[in-house]
């Protein structure tokens, strides 16, 4: 069964990668901000914010997808606004990226928050006395020091986005070439009599892709950790 990828398989793979990368790109700034706020600030309603960030982790994915649908769907006000500015996401691959990003958010926030909390605030104080603004402290000290955790969290989020199923199928449906990512394609093949072989090939891709992401993340994180260790 080891034959070159068919165009249909390529489509599934590239779409999955596109969705996964877009999901991470959309979520990373939000995750960084949320992680920093939760790690370093105390503000009223912190527990509530923490709860909302973690909601996608504990809710059934179908519920998350449904909530996205009634927020960003074609009938919803926010969906109409996005449509009006030329960024419709309902039933588009961008919508799949949003669904995957939302599902990845809690995992990314948790990993990044832990690494931010491990950054010695005394180094940030030293930076401030040397003339660094808050933003400069974050960019030149906090973020580089927390980089291993940020990378690990990002790869974790990417893997989660690749594998996202429930929220995606609920929010943007299962449209070949638009929203049919790897897990949706595997599911679809399994619904067709005789589709097991095609599903098995995709399963192998999924394993290779996930394993590859994991190894790359370990490698990058180890390099970053060495850098931060300062030896």
């Amino acid at each position: 069964m080891w034959v070159p990828l068919s165009p249909a398989e390529w489509e599934v793979l590239t779409l999955s990668l596109r969705v996964g990368l877009m999901a991470v790109a959309l979520t990373l700034p939000i995750a960084l901000f949320a992680a920093y706020a939760l790690a370093r600030w105390s503000f009223p309603g912190k527990a509530l914010v923490n709860g909302i960030v973690h909601l996608p982790l504990v809710l059934p994915p179908v519920v998350t997808g449904y909530l996205l649908l009634i927020t960003f769907g074609p009938q919803a006000p926010l969906g109409r606004v996005l449509e009006a500015v030329g960024l419709p996401i309902a039933f588009r691959w961008t919508g799949a990226a949003v669904a995957a990003g939302v599902m990845a958010l809690p995992l990314m926030v948790r990993a990044i928050r832990l690494s931010l909390e491990a950054v010695d605030p005394r180094l940030e104080q030293a930076a401030a006395t040397l003339g660094a603004s808050r933003a400069a402290v974050f960019v030149t000290v906090t973020l580089p020091m927390a980089l291993p955790g940020v990378i690990a969290g990002t790869i974790l989020g990417f893997a989660k986005a690749l594998g996202e199923f429930g929220a995606t199928i609920t929010f943007v449906s299962n449209i070949p070439g638009e929203t049919r990512t790897l897990p949706l394609a595997i599911y679809s093949f399994l619904q067709i009599p005789g589709g097991e072989g095609a599903a098995a090939r995709l399963v192998i891709f999924a394993v290779v892709l996930s394993m590859g992401a994991l190894l790359v993340s370990e490698w990058i994180a180890a390099r970053a950790a060495r850098r931060v260790a300062g030896a």
């Binding site: 104080q125 401030a128 006395t129 040397l130 003339g131 660094a132 603004s133 020091m145 931060v228 300062g230």
Partner: protein, 373 residues
């Protein structure tokens, strides 16, 4: 440029209420741990906002809480050297040194100052290394260089040697002396180590339990019994100035101090060189009459200024020998047995002398920082 500080803050278990002025030169903030020294440093740097504070550096008000003024640390331009160097581990030594210059957009200037500062601190060979590969003493020197190159208006050193072993301390102290004499910046030096203070300080502010108990020129405060609570018990001692007279053939160095001639174990200094000597109170004995047949070489005539009985069996006697003030720690029983009283003429027997500084030469060069010297 001088620094003036007023702070009031209530901690659980400690109320801080103090004010002092730090003129040019090195002002040592001394006191036992828990006296509030680091709090003062953090308030001056803007890292801690107390209940009330007024901090002025030269003609710039850094903080005046009654007027709602509180400058953030980034704009205060105070070069803070912490007890633990706090170098950025992910940056090279060179990047660490230039970090502040980059943030304050004075990179070109700092790159011009870099050779002078690295030479002053002896860190020229470390520029490409990372902080993780440095020894404790090297790290602390890099931290001092980083503060110097950030374009500070004053330096703040919070026990910069406390975390180092004696050998590393001895390695850094000469650099700090050169800094005092060449950097031309006011330096606030927080410490509880009397050797460092005696060597470096021109002005001393003594804190005890959140209050200033003595402040003024180093030689006056270090011989002031009021400052003693701020010191470790047994660490009381006076600092006197002396001039080298001759190197004797038997290995002793003869110096002329304010109170008379003293003999020191040989020191490497030319005749005419000025020294600061630290005489610990516990090394000074008092004799009512001029003693005969005594092995101690250093005997000077003095007059008792005051006698301060301590809480224990000891008493601190303040003596005036010529222009110098010397402290002697003896027992209260001896005070009574000898019938010592204020104004009485006595002889001070000094068992040993410690050099506080080999600060040769009298001219304190005030020059722009990083000029290569």
């Amino acid at each position: 440029m001088s620094l003036s500080v007023e702070i009031a803050h209530r901690f659980p278990g400690l109320t801080l209420e103090l004010g002092f002025d730090a003129p040019e030169g090195v002002t040592a903030l001394i006191g036992r741990s828990g006296a509030g020294k680091t709090t003062v440093a953090n308030v001056v740097a803007g890292l801690m906002r107390p209940d009330r504070a007024r901090v002025r550096l030269g003609d710039v008000t850094l903080a005046d809480t009654t007027a709602g003024l509180w400058l953030s640390p980034q704009v205060r331009r105070i070069g803070y050297v912490f007890q633990e160097a706090r170098l950025f581990p992910h940056l090279s030594v060179r990047q660490n040194l230039l970090y502040g210059a980059r943030r304050r957009s004075r990179l070109a200037e700092a790159e011009g100052e870099l050779p002078g500062v690295t030479e002053l601190l002896g860190i020229g060979g470390l520029l490409t290394r990372r902080p993780g590969a440095l020894s404790g003493g090297e790290r602390q020197r890099v931290a001092i260089g980083r503060a110097l190159l950030s374009g500070p208006r004053m330096l703040l050193l919070d026990e910069p040697l406390a975390a180092l072993d004696p050998a590393r301390k001895a390695e850094i102290l000469p650099f700090l002396e050169r800094l005092r004499d060449h950097a031309g910046l006011p330096i606030l030096y927080v410490s509880h180590a009397m050797e460092e203070v005696a060597r470096l300080a021109t002005t001393v502010v003594a804190l005890d339990a959140g209050r200033v108990v003595a402040q003024g020129p180093a030689s006056a405060v270090l011989s002031d019994p009021a400052a003693v609570p701020a010191l470790d018990p047994g660490a009381a001692g006076a600092v006197i100035e002396a001039v080298v007279e001759a190197q004797d053939s038997d290995g002793l160095t003869r110096v002329a101090a304010a109170g008379g001639t003293l003999y020191l174990p040989q020191i490497a200094a030319e005749p005419g060189a000025r020294l600061r000597l630290r005489i610990e109170a516990q090394d000074v004995m008092i004799s009512r009459d001029r003693p005969e047949g005594l092995s101690a070489l250093n005997l000077i005539a003095a007059r008792i200024i005051s006698i301060h009985p301590g809480h224990g069996p000891g008493a601190l006697v303040r003596l005036k020998a010529g222009e110098a003030v010397i402290l002697s720690r003896i027992t209260q029983r001896s005070v009574a047995a000898l019938g010592l009283a204020e104004g009485q003429g006595v002889h001070a027997v000094i068992k040993s002398l410690a050099m506080a500084s080999d600060n040769v030469g009298t001219a304190r060069v005030m020059a722009g920082q990083g000029d290569g010297r």
